[in-house]
């Protein structure tokens, strides 16, 4: 159900295999395959589309600068993920708690009238999920996003976040429990 597009097939000239891509070609190919998914990952972490786009752009620029050492689409993708998570974290820190709440308000869906239509209800639910994620401790939020949005394994999450596999497990289980608690008042059927 997730879109695990292979990094290779789409953007690059078919004749050039990835191991001889230059940095520009690598950026082009990985952008085509992963831009959307990485921005969405960052939205889960920072709650704001404009910020997420900047974060992911900067991650691509950094990857471009390191391509001579990565030289492998899988490594480059792992690097991009890690970079996106780290940069999202820095953005949050610098934005500060107060601003984060303001931004959350600003980004929240328009208040819906009682009895609003299906689409508005869906929007509200989406907002509730993002709010609940934003309220979680940072590590729990990161682990949940990597595990349930990107479908990464425990080992991959541990590497991405620089924590042990045991810590991934405990953040995941605490995060799931906390998310459930937070979403219960919103009548989220899914988490019962």
């Amino acid at each position: 159900m997730t879109t695990h597009a292979l990094p290779l097939d789409r953007a690059s000239p078919v004749t050039v295999p990835p191991d001889v891509w230059d940095a520009d070609a690598a950026v082009g190919a990985l952008y085509a395959a992963h831009w959307r998914q990485l921005v969405r990952l960052s939205v889960l972490l920072v709650r704001d589309l404009g910020t997420a786009e900047e974060v992911v752009q900067d991650a691509f620029v950094a990857m471009h600068g390191r391509w001579h050492r990565l030289r492998d689409p899988d490594k480059a993708l792992a690097y991009l993920r890690q970079s996106v998570v780290n940069r999202s974290r820095s953005v949050l820190r610098h934005r500060g708690v107060v601003n984060r709440h303001l931004a959350r308000e600003a980004a929240a869906p328009l208040p819906t009238q009682p009895g609003a239509d299906q689409a508005a209800l869906a929007a509200e639910q989406r907002g509730a999920v993002l709010d609940a994620l934003a309220d979680l401790p940072r590590r729990q939020r990161e682990v949940l996003a990597l595990r349930y949005y990107l479908d990464l394994s425990e080992a991959e999450i541990a590497t991405t976040l620089g924590i042990s596999k045991g810590a991934v497990k405990s953040h995941a289980s605490r995060g799931v429990a906390a998310l459930r608690t937070r979403l219960a008042p919103h009548g989220s059927e899914e988490l019962r």
Partner: protein, 354 residues
């Protein structure tokens, strides 16, 4: 994965799958072009079949040019920290060992063979830090692996020590644009009476130096947290603010052997490596049998007179030595012959000559 996991998966996907990012490639391209224009990457990659080889060479040029980060060798790379800013080049993060090879580690999905770990030892100026390299075979994040080793593993060299109390643990490592965060857990706020104030200060610096070296991006400040939040003190040492690496002469041993490792078996002659800061870059060694000198020699480090440690490589000649256990002692020069100051800095290894 059970149904419950599927629910969460659907929930997170629902939350963002409607998000349609704007086109971003144009902006990325203009930023990467900017970098090229400013000569940060002086050479573009070659084309076709030559590209791979060219890229490898360029990698060396680019890194030794001190562009991206503070490591002193192209393959001592960072990367657990994509976000770190270009730090000042600082060679006091010593060079990687030549014997253990493959320190190409920190790329996110590759595995790291060895991580730098600092331990406390004694120097003529009191306790100081020495560096060892420890294996990291399972590819744990290098900063995590290194800091964890600094706290919980015994040093390979019995002359060194770690003084972190039982129960001290690193919970997590966070790499941010302007700092490395080390999350510790344990009852660590106060200094236990069993640990001297100097050792406690060194224990904190041990983590700063270890994290910076494993990170490989120069002297990025290190924030310690305790049980989830910043703490005014850890082991009685002020830690509320991000910490800078302590001054070289007050913190590090001026002589540190990288290879051979403790207990290594050697024969014929071999190249020892390490880092030092010594008068006129002079690096001396003795081979001792039961405390008696049986051979001596010397070499030079790559420099002196600056506040950093310089790499050295010295050929050690074992000819004429009977098989058996010896102590290899490397030491800095003491131009006063002990008349002034504290005497030379030294580091020792037990070696087995066969």
């Amino acid at each position: 994965m059970n149904d419950h996991d599927d629910d969460l998966r659907r929930l997170l996907h629902d939350a963002v799958d409607h998000v349609t990012p704007h086109e971003g490639l144009t902006s990325i391209r203009s930023k990467t072009k900017e970098k090229k224009m400013s000569a940060r990457r002086p050479v573009l990659f070659g084309a076709g079949g030559a590209a791979v080889a060219t890229a490898a060479v360029i990698g060396v040029i680019v890194w030794s040019g001190g562009l991206g980060g503070g490591d002193d060798k192209p393959d001592s790379g960072p990367a657990s920290a994509p976000t770190a800013p270009s730090a000042t080049v600082d060679d006091s993060t010593p060079s990687e060992p030549t014997t253990t090879g493959s320190t190409d580690a920190p790329e996110p999905s590759s595995t790291s063979a060895a991580v730098p770990v600092y331990y406390i030892g004694d120097t003529p100026r009191g306790p100081g830090l020495y560096r060892e390299f420890h294996r990291n075979p399972d590819g744990t994040d290098p900063i995590f692996a290194a800091v964890d080793a600094a706290i919980r593993q015994q040093p390979l060299d019995p002359d060194y020590r770690t003084v972190w109390p039982e129960g001290a643990e690193v919970q997590e490592i966070g790499v941010e644009t302007d700092r490395i965060v080390i999350g510790l857990t344990g009852d660590l706020r106060e200094r236990p009476s069993s640990i001297s104030a100097k050792d406690a200060a060194m224990a904190v610096q041990q983590l700063v130096y270890t994290a910076q070296a494993a990170h490989g991006q120069g002297r990025v400040p290190v924030q310690l947290t305790l049980n989830g939040s910043p703490s005014d003190t850890i082991l009685g040492v002020p830690t509320a603010e991000p910490l800078a690496a302590g001054k070289l002469f007050k913190t590090l041993s001026l002589m540190s052997i990288t290879s051979p490792a403790e207990g290594a078996t050697v024969s014929g002659s071999f190249t020892a490596t390490g880092v030092a800061n010594s008068f006129e870059a002079w690096v001396g060694y003795q081979i001792l049998k039961d405390g008696q000198e049986v051979a001596t020699g010397f070499g030079t480090a790559e420099g002196a007179m600056e506040e950093k440690l310089f790499p050295w490589e010295v050929e050690v000649d074992l000819s004429g030595l009977a098989p058996g256990e010896y102590v290899l002692r490397f030491h800095t020069d003491d131009p006063t012959g002990g008349a002034e100051g504290n005497g030379p800095d030294e580091d020792t290894r037990t070696i087995i000559v066969k």
